[in-house]
Amino acid sequence: MVRYFSIILTLLVVLIVSIAGLRGCKTKRPPIEIFPDMVRQDKVKSQVPSDFFADGRGNRQPVVGTVPLGYAAPSSSKMSSADGSDSVMGGAYNAVIFSGSEGYADTGKVGTNWGTGIPFPVTKETLERGHDRYEIQCAVCHGSTGTGNGIATKYGLVGVANLQQQRLRDMTDGEIYNTVANGKNTMLGYGGVIQVPDRWAIVAYVRALQRSQNATLNDVPDAERASFQPTNAPVTTPAPSKP
């Protein structure tokens, strides 16, 4: 009896191990939760579906005509459009725009024209923050030096702007800000993922990049000028003639 039992037991162990597998094996089976009562509560967490709402989303869109917490209320002139319909208000607050006011810092515009200047103090920290954000969000397409040769262009993304070209050097800060926030041509807006101070930090960093690529020796502080002489020398002499 003990012998038969041992054989059955061994077979059973082999069977279980072969079905259940070992720890860490890749599996498509969702994790087992034996008593999920409090583990899965009837509450809405971020970015999860919910049966409670008709469209099945836990996260809700802002109700049309309301202002999210922390956002400025629309100015009275915007509350009603010229023909008396509320389409202007509905249009403006249909989507989360991440910034509420209509001032220069939020729109890049002074009146109806693009403004210029960074509406936040530009310090070394600002530029470093701008560098950080630029590398995360912008360098993928525009490249680390802004010449429009980011990694995405190697995989077939076309129409990426070269931030070093004269047109973009001459562009106002406000328009660059608006491009970061709302996009331009084939570039979609990054306003949804980059907050207002960071957008301006990026503008400041883009200005720094533009300067860095067109800098002359005179832009270098006296103390450090000597260290640039050797590497700068070939640039100042005419390049070898090409056929």
């Binding site: 003990v2 041992s6 860490g24 969702p30 409090m38 970015q47 969000q137 993928v140 084939t186």
Partner: protein, 219 residues
């Protein structure tokens, strides 16, 4: 009446005892081995609606985690990217703009319905984890998500059990890294002793005192 039971029946109680003892070992071992998130959670690798590869985007292209998980530094919840983030590069006329594998992305962009990504790392609803406080204090993505930059299809690398959380909360010096390397999945300390020395320094500098009381995570 005296021969009602055969002689071998005298051995039955002893044999039963041996069988129970024999069975006890594998049952104990089985429960120890299988009844743990190390088995139930680790390795969970569901199919996603779009075969997005972290290995391609992070390892090969060198993209930063925060290009997509844009609010991980400021929010408790590390967001999945919205559809627009994919469309930035994969819109029609852009990279793989007609690929059938990206059809759900284009569909979502057209209809406004979210892409039904399958959540892999699910904490119990009574445990409150905050991504921002961890990544802002030198806990790398790597510590919890493993070598995600090498995963063509994401799987759960760590058990996320309470003991596993407490291992780090009790000795954070074994995991803390320089803030500049938090999002660098390829950075590893040269040795365990270096990690410890560095970690102890960060722990003192940043006054890191992770909660180990119940209310720290179960509020």
């Amino acid at each position: 009446m005296s021969n009602f039971f055969p002689r071998w029946a005298n051995w039955v109680p002893l044999q039963l005892l041996v069988c129970v003892l024999l069975a006890g070992a594998p049952v104990t071992l089985g429960i120890w081995y299988y009844f743990t998130p190390k088995y139930t959670r680790v390795g969970y690798q569901p199919d996603q609606p779009v075969p997005f590869s972290h290995a391609l985007h992070v390892k090969q292209l060198g993209m930063d985690c925060r290009y997509c998980h844009s609010f991980v530094e400021v929010a408790g919840h590390s967001n999945l990217p919205n559809t627009q983030t994919c469309i930035n590069c994969h819109g029609e006329g852009k990279i793989l703009g007609n690929s059938p594998r990206l059809a759900p992305v284009r569909e979502s962009w057209k209809t406004g319905q979210p892409i039904p990504w399958v959540q892999i790392h699910r904490l119990p609803d009574y445990a409150y984890f905050n991504h921002a406080v961890h990544v802002n204090r030198g806990v790398s993505c790597y510590s919890c998500h493993g070598k995600i930059n090498e995963m063509a299809q994401v799987y759960e690398a760590q058990s996320l059990s309470m003991k596993w959380c407490l291992d780090c909360h009790r000795s954070p010096e074994n995991f803390l890294r320089p803030p500049s390397e938090v999002f660098n999945m390829d950075w590893h300390p040269a040795s365990d002793t270096e990690q410890r020395e560095m970690g102890l320094k960060f722990k003192a500098d940043w006054k890191i005192n992770p909660p180990v009381n119940c209310g720290g995570c179960h509020r």
